[in-house]
Amino acid sequence: MSALDKLPAGHGDRALLAGVVCLLVGALFAFTPMRAQLPSFLYVFVEVGILFVVYGLLVLGLDLQYGHAGLVNFGHVVFFAVGGYATAMLSAQDSFSGIALGYPWPIGLAVGVLAAAVLGLGLSATSIRLRGDFLAIVTLATAEIFHSVFVNFQGIFGGNVGILGVPRPIAALVADGDTRLVATLFVLGGVTLVTLAAVTRLTEAPYGRVLRAIRADELVTRSLGKSTITYKTQAFVYGAALAGLAGGLFALYNGAVAPGFFTIQVTVTIWIGMLLGGAANHRAVLAGLAIIMGLRLVSRFALDVTPVSGDVFASIRLIVVGMILVAVIRYRPAGIWGNAQELGVDR
């Protein structure tokens, strides 16, 4: 029996296969005359679906940090924002606000990922030794600082308007609106699935064992010869880089970035999705995120049939979201599909 048979090779490789298929289908829509037609009621599903796969990258990175290594990052949106802004500023052709350098978009995307990773490295170098709740505060405050920098330095970041004129590679290839949306969903969904495969491989390998050991007891892990600071830094930087990728892809899909897309609400949404699904389980955190984002769909449809205003509905939805977070922590601390013993919450 070869060693390959003994290693778990299931979910990760299936995700890889599915991801590659999605990318190919997306490419088919983009490069061939093949066209898709969406029934009008499906529009909103595809739109929320695109946002879901982008946020999916965020939640996978966050879960690597919190679910596996136990790092409480409550400013995850900052990496998403930095990735988005860096990509936008480098690749935007012309924008009446902020900087637009007009480089080819792949360079913009690469710099976006890099910028987020570098910020992650800087933050972890300074703060990774802090106790969980204080790390949460430092990351949260960092996100707020960047948010107000984006808003206030209008000459560079375009203020509240943000940066416009970011190239949209898929839109450039596909003129027809329906096909463009479907192709975008497949391409970005493919990226998320490939990422799922990668983090699954990483965490099923001995690498993941070390991360989980750090979460359980850092001192013991050190005394077994593991350089835990290195691992924590890596997990933090990988999560940040994934968020940077998500931000870059979002900018290239949306054609613009603005502070309004990168609020603390994003961090809250992915945290609740992760905890609801069950931390330390990649597919569970995606499913949890799907539930939370599904609520947006429900409220959109409900809005059509009830006579109340959109504001009221948004408030009600957020009350529900807040209470879900409270209830999950109290009654199901391991989430819906999480393993309570693995998370140490079965006491």
Binding site: Y207, R215, V220, S223
Partner: protein, 254 residues
């Protein structure tokens, strides 16, 4: 030259000297017992040597190299591995994973081989699994291998911690109260294992309160009191030493 030694070790906590000018040395292949009344500084001594805390003064030498203040992970790489008094299992991991984790030099603990599922990682992991299963079997934990270690009894935890430490194939094994909370049968069993390891060449340092088992097990006893060295030598001589008797009787009302 001795394998492991401390020279003039000092550690203070809030003005209190937990370890006070302590010089101890351990020869290669020895089993040394460390005893002393509560608060004598045994665990602080262990923590200073194993890099868990930094001593305020003095040096720790391992195999001729000055390792004072080195991190626990780098000491583990140098072959010094310890267990903890309050058995620190990785409770959210299974018995199997606890033992496998300790395997040194696993290429799969680096990002790229893990992502690529490299052949080196898989070959190494196969060896690790085999070795871990052997150790688990040796310590008669095989029926619990897939249990989370939080479900283990106190004695089983001591066995698991020992098995996990052995996965690193240490040159010096430092055991902090390996018999605490363990029933007499299991105590004898653990003691036998330690003796076996020692006969195969491993150097062992043991902190223990269970004086009878300890004195039977070790080649030499070191008795600490108030952070300093009180007496050291042959177990029988040490145990009949007036100062030791007094220290223990004096400490009895603690």
């Amino acid at each position: 030259m001795s394998l492991l030694s401390t020279d003039g070790l000092v550690k203070e906590f809030g003005g209190l000297r937990a370890v006070d000018d302590l010089s101890v040395s351990v020869e290669e292949g020895e089993i040394v017992g460390v005893m002393g009344p509560n608060g004598a500084g045994k665990s602080t001594f262990f923590n200073c040597v194993s890099g868990v805390i930094k001593p305020d003064a003095g040096t720790v030498t391992l195999d001729g190299a000055d390792v004072t203040g080195d991190a626990p992970e780098s000491l583990a790489h140098r072959g010094l591995v310890r267990t903890f008094q309050d058995t620190r299992e990785l409770e959210t991991m299974t018995v199997r994973d606890n033992v496998r984790l300790a395997a040194p030099d696993q290429p799969g603990e680096r990002t790229l081989p893990a992502l690529l599922r490299s052949g080196a990682m898989q070959d190494h992991e196969a060896t690790v699994r085999e070795r871990a299963d052997e150790l688990i079997e040796t310590f008669e934990l095989d029926h619990l291998a897939d249990e989370y270690s939080s479900n283990l009894s106190g004695g089983q935890r001591k066995l698991l911690e020992l098995a996990r430490a052995l996965m690193l194939d240490p040159e010096v094994l430092m055991l902090d109260e390996p018999f605490a909370g363990v029933n007499p049968t299991l105590t004898r069993e653990i003691a036998d294992r330690i003796r076996d390891l020692n006969e195969k060449g491993m150097t062992v340092v043991v902190i223990e309160h269970e004086i009878e088992t300890l004195s039977e097990l070790v080649d030499r006893l070191v008795v600490l009191q108030q952070g300093g060295l009180l007496v050291e030598g042959d177990p029988e001589d040490v145990l009949s030493d007036e100062r030791v008797i007094e220290a223990y009787l004096g400490g009895a009302d603690e």
